[in-house]
Amino acid sequence: MKNQLFPFLATLALLTGCGSADKPREPAQILAQTWPQIEAAGRNQPVSMVMWQGDPLINRYMNTYVKPEVKRRYGIELQLAAGQGAGLVQTLAAEQQAGQPSEADVVWINGETFYQLRQVDALLGPFVEKLPNARLLDLQNPFINTDFQQPVAGMECPWGNVQFTFIYDSARVARPPRSFAELPAFLQAHPGQFTIPNEFTGMTLLKSWMIALSGDPQLFQGKFNEAVYRKWSGALWQVINQNRRYFWKQGQTFPEQLAPLHQLFANGEVAFTFSNNDAEVDNKINQQVFPATARAYVPATGTIQNAHYLGLVRGAQHPEAAMLVINFLISPEAQLRKMDPNVWGDHTVLNLKALPAAQRQAFEQLPSRRYAPRRETIQDLALPEPDPEYMTRLFKDFRTYVIEGTPVPAS
């Protein structure tokens, strides 16, 4: 065994020895540049952008529109990489601990990923005000300037804005529950048609339901409040557990991911699915994934609306080029195309009033949604995202008190 120890020690020595390579530049140094300087430095560089790649429409938008455009305008070679969430945070944190420049320049994030990336200090900024197009952003809008109760503060740039919706098959359900209060009675009358995905979208559903139970969205503003959470999550577990046998598969199991739930919905095994993007139903019917009878709506007393953002990585190797790309992504042209339900259907983050009349008109005349509710009708039903801790706790407790069936301790 001694012999085998030797190469092992050698590796350890090797591993600890490396790592004092070229240090990334200081953020202040990068951000001190003027825009023309940034533009000059960023031209003809490669940019690596990490994003979720599970939707062909989104990938097509990025590959066939954004990529050629940034190449044409700035000579930038945009490289798209698959990654998101905790995996992304761990990669960036590991790079930072090794003291090495990052392999990623731009990251598509929001909510808890933003929170975590700030915790490990992996974001470069504040950079948003540097972007010429930033003046067009609707930064007065609390659904855009605040990400899960965290002020964006220029550390991530808004990219799109979406609202949680119920999607149902109108051929199978004549009258879906119009509010969360009607939901239990509906479940009892239509057993086996409804379930809760045990992931991000499902947690947004639970948050909206919990806020509806409390009757007071104000309670969930600001920092995480243990007493508020205990009280209203307790009420939520109670109502879910009381009606558990009316869920899909008698509530003995729940889908682990949203995609299988969408497939169950498309196959007709359940009558409801959900989306964090209010226009997704159009997008999915256009792709012939959902039946043409699928419809989306927002139940009273409202659902969560949030924005998603673009972050600049602190150790980015091409921060200037990355800023050019982000600036392009929030340009009126790029935002307009992205908002078309036939392209992606992601709502713009621009303040339309700040746009020249012609451009504003182009936004207003976009091919409108056919199956999703119009934005104006659901804006009043929009709830802001609570502190990330609410989701973290709901995720943990949904598993404990519903999936595993541990009794809720009396508080």
């Binding site: 001694k2 012999n3 085998q4 030797f6 190469p7 092992f8 050698a10 590796t11 350890l12 591993l15 969430g85 905790a86 995996g87 945070v89 761990q90 944190a93 590991a94 601990q97 808890e112 975590q116 915790q119 490990v120 086996g192 045990n198 598969k249 003995q252 199991t253 729940f254 682990e256 991911q257 299988p260 497939q263 169950l264 196959n267 007709g268 095994e269 990330p388 989701m391 973290t392 995720f395 943990k396 598993r399 999936i403 595993e404």
Partner: protein
């Protein structure tokens, strides 16, 4: 420098390099997980704490995941071995007939995620089989179809693993059968008056199992650590080990990461222990 004096004791350069890769890197990873579990490594490491180790006693999730994975791995590797042995020992002539020699390679072409997706589309209550049953009048609606995926016993997962593993075992056994000249042994034992059944049970079966043991053990461990198939065909509770670990590693709460490292460390330790036990067992039973 002791070892330099006795160069004959040093492993060959090829072996040393190999050791560096397969021992060095995983051990380094394990050390990282251990340090992570006590708060000394990882993104939010804040200094030594025994908190996560102490909380271990109250967390039964890992134990359930280990038990469930054990059941799935034993069942699917067991069924696969039985099927493969049956094919190689009792249908050897058929295996040589067109199109089987090529056909057995086909399941190797299917990645686990594709098999999971395929079985979901085939076996769910609104899947293709259910549709055929409905058209044939066997069931009145999706509820009439048996629960074959996302079921409590993990039948869907086991089915998928068997589909992936048994053709590989069959190819493996057949290759060993050929290269060990078992056909000649068979002729010999038959001439000596043994029955074909005796040859299969006493000679061929044990020999194939013994020679294939390392690969069978590897398959067993791979099944224990399977991820894509249980993710698509399993339930959120009980989960298989990899799904459990991935859920913990990717939880929304970064502060839970040490607990995830701890779970990972324990799983790796458990698997190592299992390997040690199985290798010892094999050495004891091996007839040399």
């Amino acid at each position: 420098m002791l070892s330099k004096a006795r160069p004959s004791r040093l492993p060959s350069p090829l072996l040393s390099l190999y050791g560096l890769l397969v021992v060095g890197l995983p051990l380094a990873g394990l050390a990282y997980a251990l340090l992570g579990s006590v708060g000394l490594a990882g993104p939010l490491a804040a200094g030594f704490t025994g908190r996560y180790w102490q909380a271990l006693g109250t967390d039964t999730g890992l134990l359930y995941a280990a038990l469930f994975s054990g059941w799935v791995a034993v069942a699917s590797v067991g069924i696969s071995i039985a099927l493969a042995l049956l094919l190689v020992l009792r249908a050897q002539p058929t295996l040589r007939r067109w199109p089987l020699p090529g056909l057995l390679y086909v399941p190797l072409l299917l990645p686990a995620l594709v098999v999971g997706f395929y079985l979901f589309q085939l076996l769910s209550r609104t899947g293709w089989l259910a549709r055929l049953c409905f058209q044939l009048g066997l069931i009145q609606g999706p509820e009439g179809f048996p629960e074959l995926v996302q079921d409590a016993a993990g039948l869907g997962i086991i089915g998928a693993q068997v589909l992936l593993t048994f053709p590989f075992f069959t190819l493996l056994f057949r290759a060993i059968y050929q290269e060990s000249r078992l056909e000649e042994y068979r002729q010999l034992t038959l001439t000596l008056g043994a029955s074909p059944g005796q040859f299969r049970r006493r000679v061929a079966g044990p020999l194939l199992l013994r020679r294939a043991a390392p690969t069978l053990l590897l398959s067993f461990m791979a099944t224990l650590g399977a991820y894509d198939i249980p993710l698509l065909l399993g339930r959120p509770y009980p989960q298989m080990l990899s799904v459990y670990l991935a859920t913990r590693l990717q939880r929304f709460d970064l502060r839970e990461l040490p607990a995830a490292y701890l779970a990972g460390f324990l799983v790796a330790l458990g698997l190592l222990g299992l390997v040690a036990v199985l290798l010892r067992l094999r050495r004891q039973t091996a007839v040399r």
